[in-house]
């Protein structure tokens, strides 16, 4: 038996292919798959949400809230905000929730509506407030989310999607990371409509509570002056551009003939009290 050395003409074990092209084809396929799943998910969530009873939501809310962790601070202002939201609910927006205000220490100028009527207000937001009307508008805006049950929609979809991507790729894989980025962007653009609806609800509510809508746009007019990127940037992103929001509110005020009267000041004793 003799040995005849020969080189094979081609490498049979490696398919000659363009990896870049394959990457774009696959990534495009995955993206369209996700869009389809997202739309289907959105439809199912929209179908299910009206059927979730308040009772069930309250139960879920407790778990959700506990998993958030954190500690309530600033009870002085907390009580005041609590009485304000209770008053709004009592007189003007009869929602089937028992709202509970949680003041959290953070420079974030934001408030959050969690399932079960837990409203988180950050001290950063409270520090920015200049009148009761302005604060009432922000609270009424969050109540608007409850009225339309946006908090369940956004939460439901996000939770299901996160579970899905973690299931597919593992929680901390790089594919998951890039996915959660793209998902976030779509999630935000979806919630803009909901923010506008909540704004309209808030306008009605404070008009009912105070007989005028003075101070409604104060909060938004302040934001552009703040140059705090980072956390405030997130607020910007998830809420429609402030300018278009202000003009939208002004349009409604004009068309509905709402009055603009003097704003009610915040109770100085509570607001200037440093705990």
């Amino acid at each position: 038996m003799r040995y005849t050395p020969r080189h094979p003409k081609s490498n049979v074990n490696v398919t000659p292919t363009s990896h870049i092209r394959e990457f774009f084809v696959l990534a495009g396929g995955l993206l369209s798959l996700i869009v389809v799943i997202y739309l289907v998910l959105g439809l199912t969530v929209d179908l299910i949400v009206p059927h979730i009873s308040i009772d069930l939501e309250n139960k879920m809310g407790v778990h959700f809230f506990q998993s958030m962790g954190g500690k309530d601070v600033d009870s002085q202002r907390g009580y005041y905000v609590q009485s304000l939201i209770d008053d709004l609910r009592e007189r003007c927006a009869k929602l089937p929730y028992r709202f509970k205000i949680h003041v959290r220490k953070a420079s974030t100028v934001n408030a959050m509506a969690l399932p079960g009527g837990h409203v988180i207000v950050f001290t950063g937001l409270l520090d920015k407030m200049s009148s009761e009307n302005e604060l009432a508008f922000v609270l009424a805006h969050e109540m608007g989310h409850y009225a339309h049950r946006d908090h369940l929609r956004a939460g439901g979809r996000a939770v299901v999607l996160m579970t899905f991507s973690a299931l597919l790729f593992g929680a901390d894989s790089s594919v998951s990371k890039i996915l959660s980025h793209t998902l976030n962007i779509t999630e935000l653009s979806f919630s803009r409509k909901q923010e506008t609806m909540a704004d309209e609800f808030a306008l009605e509510t404070i008009n009912c509570a105070y007989g005028h809508v003075g101070g409604a746009t104060d909060f938004f007019e302040k934001i552009p002056k703040e140059q705090d990127t980072g956390k405030i940037g997130h607020y910007f992103a998830s809420h429609p551009e402030t300018r278009s929001r202000i003009s939208h509110l002004n349009n409604i005020i004009r068309s509905r003939g709402f009055n603009l009267a003097k704003r009610k000041p915040l109770p100085k004793a509570i607001w200037n009290f440093i705990p």
């Binding site: 038996m1 003799r2 040995y3 005849t4 050395p5 020969r6 094979p8 003409k9 081609s10 049979v12 074990n13 597919l168």
Partner: protein, 104 residues
Amino acid sequence: MIITNIETVPGKTIVEHFGLVSGSTIRAKHIGRDIMASLKNLVGGELKGYTQLLQESRNQAIDRMIEHARQMGANAIVNVRFSTSSVAQGAAELYVYGTAVRVQ
């Protein structure tokens, strides 16, 4: 192409050899199959999807080895062995190699 996993091809004599030839493949099933397999795992039994995956992978690896041998000018491959690896999870990685020979 004659393929054996013994030293010779019975009834024929090896006149010439060309060294090692090999074929490798790495294949995966789509995610739906993976999910079905993990469900099937609850009750046990044959995972048809994965059986099929292994079959496909093996056939592709052998086809590649044959193509390699053909390019060398061989008409038989003797003493063939299979080997596996584990780079990617949920994928079948098969490697098959043998000695390319010419028999008469």
